[in-house]
């Protein structure tokens, strides 16, 4: 069966991604409006509380993205599913972006709130940093090249190792620091004002939509890369065959 070659676009967008993209833009505009002009300042943190609107969603999406990578890794090892392999890779890349932003916004926020850019005593900060380095390693293994399925297997094992070791790293840092500055439960203990909470949840949703948008694009890019490699391979084989046929005909 041949695909209808008609209206295929020369980009990785589609109606869905355009809707998602527009939603993200509207969402970010709303967040700026609510975050800077509607949400009140915090009693304790004053206006620096407005940082949570970008910090908390980034942190949550970091862990969502890396969890997806872990699931994708397991699925590759278990089912040899190329689809899941690409999902794991795409999610790790986006996760690293979110993770970097979590660390940067966290430490910018830490300066006025804790009076230091980096606090070693904080469990979540240190754990997130180690996770960040691990996932950089994951992407490094990915980028080293080699046989496609071997790379996928290696990366998947790294993904599983990271996922399994993170709880124990978290625990060890917790015991080590044995105190934590982090807002343990500013969400649940009702310290945050209504509009602050609402804006933060809006942020999580908008970041989630952005994640979906990037995953779709990143997945399609990886898919096109595969097609390109396979296409080159097919072409090379066809060329060799033609050569062989030509030389065979001449002799």
């Amino acid at each position: 069966m041949t695909n209808p070659p008609l209206d295929l676009p020369a980009h990785t967008g589609s109606r869905t991604t355009r809707v998602l993209g527009a939603a993200v833009l509207v969402g970010v505009a709303t967040m700026i409006l609510l975050g800077f002009f509607v949400a009140p300042e915090d009693d304790l943190m004053a206006d620096s509380v407005r940082m949570i609107f970008v910090h908390v969603p980034s942190a949550i999406l970091t862990y969502v993205a890396f969890s997806v990578t872990a699931v994708g890794s397991v699925m590759w090892l278990w089912k040899r599913s190329v689809w899941w392999d690409i999902v794991a890779h795409s999610s790790a890349e986006i996760g690293v972006v979110f993770c970097g932003l979590t660390l940067v916004t966290g430490s910018i926020w830490g300066r006025p709130t804790w009076n230091t850019y980096w606090e070693w005593g904080d469990v979540r900060l240190v754990t997130t940093l180690i996770l960040f380095v691990m996932m950089i390693g994951y992407l490094a293994v990915r980028s080293m090249g080699g046989d496609e399925s071997a790379v996928a297997t290696r990366a998947a094992v790294v993904g599983v190792i990271a996922a399994i070791n993170i709880p124990i790293i978290n625990r060890s840092v917790e015991w080590w620091a044995d105190r934590t500055l982090h807002q343990q439960s500013s969400i649940t203990d009702g310290k945050l004002e209504d509009w602050t909470l609402f804006t933060m949840f809006l942020g999580i949703v908008v970041w989630g939509v952005f994640y979906t948008w990037s995953m779709t694009h990143r997945f399609r890019i990886a898919w096109l890369e595969r097609e390109l490699r396979d296409g080159d391979l097919d072409e090379a084989i066809a060329a060799r065959r033609a050569e062989a046929a030509a030389s065979g005909g001449a002799s």
Partner: protein
């Protein structure tokens, strides 16, 4: 399975013994790092004493990447990996054997290093039992995680640089736990060192199981 593991371990150790790389290069390297830390901290006794346990384990972290690299290169040269598989040895046995070999080498380095901190840093060991238990338990975890990641990067270009990026963050709990336990044993910080052993043991068990389960996939496919 245990017999096979033992075979692999003795094979690696024999190769190591004959080449004497551990003794002629890795141990001097570890000693050198100790001396360099001494210079860096300007022979400032109180600071040096405070930092002894941390410096000890940071040095072991560096040494472990060297040991794992050596252990991996034994297998990658001359297609020895394939031969091992063809010999019918189960991958988990290979994993356990290679881990044992790495662990034995690391323990040897730790003994020398321990003498080094006692002599050079005049560390005053208060609880030898805790020191040895920590070395043993921590080393099992380091060797297991290292052997697994070593096999993982075996076929990768630039594996010398990729291995530390992958291994060192995974070893973070060992560094933290073993350092704290040593702090207690050396009497530099008042903490309960034995409770940290639990964490180290947990790390060891998890990584041994993880390695035994996934080593086969890496050995056969990459």
């Amino acid at each position: 399975m245990l017999r096979d593991a033992w075979l692999v371990a003795t094979k690696d150790l024999q190769i190591e013994w004959r080449s004497r790389v551990t003794f002629s290069q890795v141990v001097p390297f570890a000693g050198l790092v100790l001396v360099l830390f001494g210079f860096a901290l300007d022979a400032n006794r109180p600071v040096l004493l405070q930092a002894t346990s941390g410096l000890f384990w940071v040095t072991i972290m560096f040494v472990s990447t060297l040991a794992v690299q050596r252990s991996t290169s034994i297998e990658t040269t001359d297609g020895a990996r394939r031969a091992l598989l063809l010999a019918g040895i189960e991958p988990p046995a290979v994993f356990v054997g290679k881990s044992i070999a790495v662990a034995v080498q690391l323990l040897a380095v730790e003994v020398v290093l321990l003498a080094g901190v006692v002599v050079l840093y005049s560390a005053d060991v208060e609880a030898w039992g805790l020191v040895f238990a920590t070395c043993l338990v921590a080393t099992v975890g380091i060797a297991a995680a290292g052997t697994l990641l070593g096999a993982l990067v075996a076929g990768v270009r630039a594996r010398e640089t990729v291995l530390p990026i992958l291994l060192l963050p995974v070893l973070a709990p060992v560094l933290i736990g073993a350092t704290r336990a040593f702090d207690d044993a050396l009497g530099s910080v008042a903490v309960d060192g034995w409770s940290w052993l639990g964490l180290l043991a947990g790390f060891g068990v998890i990584n041994v199981v993880l390695g035994a389960l996934s080593y086969g996939v890496l050995l056969e496919e990459t």
